[in-house]
């Protein structure tokens, strides 16, 4: 199916109707083009606005900033603490993402390969988690972390990040392991490998593409989420970047410092844009495999 996906762009009517195709396709290009231009344009407007003065943002429209105001970035990074929040997010999200993989990959492997009583039930229990609305757990999670003295801490936040990401990641990786051939494991067992050796030396290297997919999907969604941070983090200096941007937006609506806000937006979206730019195909493939069996 992989090859089909790569070449599917070339699918279409036989060559003799290519010219006719180009004419009938014009409205299609127009509609798709408008949507694309709007998306790219809106993002570009914001990034461009980050380099303008307060006045320019309101008056200059699409023109380039007269003098790029790099100071906007410096201001939000230091005065509005976005620099600190960036580090907080990088710390909490990276640790959480690795932890998610560390616990969910072995679990997914066991769910896809081992035979034990209650396997179906446990798999279903993980799948159900995908459908549970996160707001439901706001209050108990806060109580639980308060009991563990972990509220208002990035450690506490990271633990919850891991817990809520497990259902999707286990589901994704179970599907991935199920798609790998069994013959290699059988061969390794015949060669005298133990169960855990098979996992570490045979399956894990094979699962590397799946691990990368799970990593970027989790990293991007945790980098962007702010509802759990809003619930768990109280003090200013422990905010994640998304939460910090929310606070910045609240503060700036009275000062109408749009360039400052746009600089904050730019800082927030750059890491995910870079990851997506490099690994978009992997991410999209990972998100869609579950829906298309």
């Amino acid at each position: 199916m992989r090859s089909a996906r790569i070449f599917s762009g070339a699918r279409g009517a036989p060559t003799r109707t290519r010219l006719g195709n180009a004419v009938t396709c014009a409205p299609a290009y127009l509609i798709l083009g408008m949507w694309s231009v709007f998306t790219v344009g809106a993002i570009a407007w914001v990034v461009l606005g980050a380099l303008k003065t307060k006045r320019e943002v309101l008056t200059s429209g699409w023109s380039l900033p007269a003098i790029p105001q790099w100071a906007n970035f410096g201001r939000v990074l230091s005065e509005n603490n976005l620099g600190l929040y960036f580090v907080n997010s990088a710390f909490a999200v990276t640790i959480s993402t690795f932890a998610i993989l560390a616990v969910s990959v072995p679990a997914a492997y066991a769910l896809s390969r081992a035979d034990f009583r209650g396997k179906e039930g446990l798999t279903n229990l993980f799948v159900i988690g995908i459908g549970i609305p996160i707001p439901l757990i706001f209050i108990p999670v806060f109580m639980l972390l308060a009991w563990l003295r972990l509220t208002d801490s990035l450690t506490g936040l990271s633990i919850i990040f891991v817990a809520v990401s497990l259902p999707f990641t286990v589901y994704l990786m179970t599907g991935f392991f199920a798609s790998l051939p069994r013959e290699l494991e059988d061969a390794a067992i015949i060669d005298g490998c133990s169960g855990s050796q098979v996992f570490w030396h045979v399956m894990l290297p094979l699962a590397r593409p799946g691990l990368l997919t799970a990593f970027i999907i989790n990293f991007i969604w945790l980098w962007n989420e702010y509802q759990l941070s809003l619930t768990i983090i109280n003090s200013g200096e422990k905010r994640t970047l998304a939460l910090g941007l929310y606070a910045l937006q609240n503060a700036l609506q009275y000062t109408s410092d749009w360039p400052g806000l746009f600089a904050g937006v730019t800082i927030t979206i750059i890491p995910t844009l870079l990851l997506y730019g490099v690994l978009a195909e992997k991410m999209i493939a990972g998100l869609t495999t579950g829906a298309v069996k």
């Binding site: 699918r11 036989p14 509609i31 034990f116 439901l136 702010y226 509802q227 749009w258 979206i269």
Partner: protein
């Protein structure tokens, strides 16, 4: 992989984290909803179904429920109409399929707070993209609209939600069309089918199962809607933007001043959970169809 010890050591970390920090809190919400409780140092009073009775007569709860269901139904109609249209167009054999997929999905990888900041600027009364665009097209009257005024803000937010989610459901549907054998389109083309006939008689039946899964995912996305409207409304979020998730948060943690009606907030959560799973089961039943063999 069949030694008991190994299986347990593989499953234990994920399972225990999931049970303690996700499933246990869910059960805890069910339990809490039967109590009157105003905070961590206070005593809990068992009140039975009182919180649910109060929900029944609470206009703000009904407004939040209405908004959530409007996102589900109206937002869903737009998301799927657009996603299906774009699927048909992108899949009609034109150049740049991967590029379009890349660009349409793009809003989904941006932080929600970044997206709401962007849209609040689009809707800015004077300098915003929307009103200045309308002005340059000559719609002077329309260009004076205050898009984020109380009467308009819900629909203004809805437009942004549709913009983000269309791309997400588009990639799901496109992944479905990738699996359709090419010969089916060639056969349809030989029979003289046009773009729309191909879509309705080949594509749609072939991706029905993907469509159903996508719709179930949309139910989940719409019902738990919290981050987008909450960030769009900012600190003075108007009730016009309340969803069930937001009302839960506000009754639990307060708004500008604390409220701490934890039992009541939990009851909102239970309704949210029950409604989500009821809708999922209903959708699965409604859309069920014999598996298509090919």
């Amino acid at each position: 992989m069949n030694s008991k010890r190994l299986i347990i050591s593989f499953l234990a970390p994920a399972t225990s984290l999931y049970f303690v920090f996700f499933l246990l809190p869910v059960l805890c919400t069910l339990y809490l909803s039967l109590f009157d409780w105003s905070g961590f140092a206070e005593a809990m009073t068992f009140v039975g179904p009182k919180n649910y009775v109060r929900l029944w007569t609470d206009p703000v709860f009904w407004l939040s429920l209405r908004n959530t269901l409007l996102i589900l139904a109206v937002g869903g109609a737009f998301v799927f109409a657009l996603a299906l249209l774009f699927t048909a167009l992108i899949d009609s054999g034109l150049w740049g399929k991967k590029l379009f997929r890349f660009l349409f999905f793009l809003p989904n990888i941006l932080a929600v707070v970044a997206v709401t900041a962007m849209w609040s600027y689009i809707y800015n009364p004077r300098a915003g993209l929307l009103n200045s665009g309308l002005r340059s097209l000559g719609f002077d009257h329309l260009s004076k609209t205050l898009w984020t005024a109380p009467d308009n803000i819900f629909w203004a937010m809805m437009a942004a939600i549709v913009w983000v989610n269309t791309g997400f459901f588009l990639i799901l549907l496109l992944a479905g069309t990738d699996k359709i054998p090419k010969e089916m389109y060639e056969a349809a083309a030989l029979d003289g089918a046009n773009i729309f006939q191909k879509f309705f008689y080949v594509t749609m039946p072939m991706i029905w199962d993907v469509f159903v899964v996508s719709f179930v995912i949309w139910i989940i996305v719409a019902m738990k809607m919290f981050e987008f409207p909450y960030a769009f409304g900012l600190i003075q979020i108007p009730q016009q933007l309340y969803t069930l998730g937001i009302y839960l948060f506000i009754m639990g943690f307060g708004h500008r001043e604390p409220i701490y009606q934890l039992g009541y907030a939990a009851a909102i959560g239970v309704v949210l959970l029950a409604l989500t799973f009821t809708l999922i089961f209903a959708a699965r039943r409604l859309f069920r169809r014999a598996a298509l063999e090919f």
